[in-house]
């Protein structure tokens, strides 16, 4: 409890400062609405429509690949802390894990998952 008290306090203080920063304009700023001002900014051209539509599937693939690898990286942290106690056995086991991870990466690269040209 006492360990996390400073973190809780820092979180509260940071939330207060940042919260004030993003809302202060609504409190002290002037107000003037205008239909042209409210349009999406596209360098002065008339807006080309809503942005809430489909976009390249590549970004989803990158996100999925990231999820897989990030979980694997987090799995490596406990091993990294205890590497001296686990010794050669741990090294071999983690090695197999990393080789599997690399195989996954090579598979994804061969399937053109990361070709952006």
């Amino acid at each position: 409890m006492t360990t996390w008290f400073p973190v809780a306090l820092m979180t509260a203080f940071a939330a207060l400062v940042v919260g004030l920063m993003v809302t202060i304009n609504a409190i002290v700023g002037p107000r003037s609405r205008d239909p042209v001002k409210g349009e999406a900014f596209e360098c002065g051209n008339p807006p080309s429509g809503s942005a809430w539509r489909r976009f390249s599937v590549h970004f989803y693939l990158t996100a999925i690949l990231f999820l897989v690898f990030d979980v694997e990286v987090v799995f490596l942290y406990p091993w990294a802390v205890t590497i001296r106690q686990l010794g050669a056995t741990g090294l071999v086991e983690a090695g197999i894990f990393i080789v599997l991870m690399l195989a996954g990466l090579i598979y994804a690269l061969r399937r053109g998952m990361l070709d952006w040209s």
């Binding site: 996390w4 008290f5 400073p6 306090l9 820092m10 203080f13 940071a14 939330a15 400062v17 940042v18 919260g19 920063m21 993003v22 809302t23 202060i24 304009n25 609504a26 002290v28 700023g29 002037p30 107000r31 003037s32 239909p35 409210g38 999406a40 900014f41 596209e42 360098c43 807006p47 080309s48 809503s50 942005a51 976009f55 590549h58 970004f59 990158t62 990231f66 990030d70 990286v73 987090v74 490596l76 942290y77 990294a80 802390v81 205890t82 590497i83 001296r84 010794g87 050669a88 741990g90 090294l91 983690a94 090695g95 990393i98 690399l102 990466l105 690269l109 990361l114 070709d115 952006w116």
Partner: protein
């Protein structure tokens, strides 16, 4: 008990304010520094009732950056585009800056300071899983960029935000991998312990800093860190010549300031991480808890407050140095193409990070844990 709570409250508030102010100083430095690099004059207009001019002082744009601009920014209209999602539009800048600020909690800014019977650890919170906490908080930063562009309902902004998300998550892997290798060397996730382990010297003169064990890890963390703070050469999410301003195209006033400060606070965070993991954090070469022990065998005794202050100053100097380096890089290099960025992240840095990890692991196991 109460006094301990007050001390930790002071430390927490001090660190948040320090980071925000350092970010503002970096903004000023970026303005005047870039002007110097590009042979321009830079901000030099605003003054306070002409006092500086009457005294004959050069106008360094300090009043521009620290008084005039904040006043202007925070009294602007609260602008939300008509088609935007109003709640997420306000939440996004909050989610960009807030996680960066709280991720400074486990980073030590000095050794322990002894006041009377109190031992004050100069760190907001000595978490035993400090590195995981930082990575978790940094991961939240993606939401700021992703939501900012999406909530604006602007096509440029959306492009910027999907680019930013893909870039941030790609380079987060490299960041995680390069930090794992350091964790292996020191066998702990507690940043204060990592700092303590970097005291002393080899051969009587070479400081025992992490850079000597992990030179490749340092480079990987530096590159991934610059990519995480979305600056040139990795500023594709903002790319002003392509996307206006990327995911914060539609933002103005305090919300835009939050995005901007988030970028600078991330520079500070990356610098603090690099200094802590690879350059001894608050360690001063040859300084131990009772004074300087110079290579020649000379001993210069110092009291505890002086040692603690020297440590804090040393940490500050290291952090400011790496901030300066990142700003210099930003004004030296051109921007990558998007495919180059992704190729570098997935086909260059990620395999290098894995190789670095394996070599470190094999070396540690081979010498039987005596490193």
């Amino acid at each position: 008990m109460l006094i301990d709570l007050i001390i930790s409250a002071i430390k927490a508030i001090f660190v948040v304010l320090l980071v925000l102010n350092l970010s503002a100083v970096l903004l000023w430095f970026e303005r005047k520094g870039s002007a110097l690099i590009q042979d321009r004059i830079g901000a030099n207009r605003a003054g306070l009732f002409g006092i500086g001019r009457r005294l004959g002082l050069p106008n360094l744009g300090i009043i521009n950056t620290f008084i005039a601009d904040p006043l202007k920014i925070f009294t602007k209209e609260d602008f939300v585009p008509d088609r935007a999602d109003k709640f997420l539009y306000t939440l996004a800048p909050f989610l960009a800056l807030f996680p960066v600020l709280i991720s400074f909690a486990p980073i030590p800014f000095g050794d322990r300071l002894i006041v009377g019977s109190h031992q004050i650890e100069l760190v907001v919170c000595p978490l035993t899983a400090g590195i995981l906490y930082i990575l978790a908080a940094l991961g939240l930063g993606v939401y700021g960029a992703a939501l900012g562009g999406w909530a604006s309902n602007n096509r440029w902004a959306l492009l910027g935000s999907v680019r930013a998300s893909a870039q941030l998550i790609s380079y987060e892997l490299t960041m995680g991998l390069s930090i794992i290798a350091v964790v292996m060397v020191y066998g702990t996730l507690d940043l204060q312990e990592i700092c303590r382990a970097q005291s002393g010297t080899w051969f009587g003169w070479l400081p025992k800093w992490g850079i000597v064990y992990q030179p490749l890890g340092f480079l990987l963390l530096l590159v991934a860190g610059i990519a995480e703070s979305r600056r040139i050469p990795f500023d594709l999410p903002e790319g002003e010549s392509e996307l206006v301003a990327g995911y914060f195209t539609e933002y103005s006033g305090g919300k835009q300031a939050a995005f901007m400060l988030a970028d600078f606070a991330e520079i500070v965070l990356v610098s603090a991480l690099i200094s802590t993991l690879f350059f001894g954090g608050w360690q001063v070469p040859y300084l131990q808890s009772d004074g300087f022990h110079l290579p020649g065998g000379t001993w210069l005794p110092l009291s505890n407050p002086v040692v603690a202050l020297l440590g804090f100053v040393a940490f500050g100097i290291k952090v400011v140095f790496f901030c300066w380096l990142q700003i210099l890089i930003r004004w030296t290099l051109p921007r990558f193409r998007y495919d180059q960025l992704m190729t570098l992240g997935w086909k260059g840095l990620l395999p290098l990070g894995l190789v670095n990890l394996m070599v470190t692991a094999v070396a540690i196991v081979a010498v039987g844990g005596s490193v």
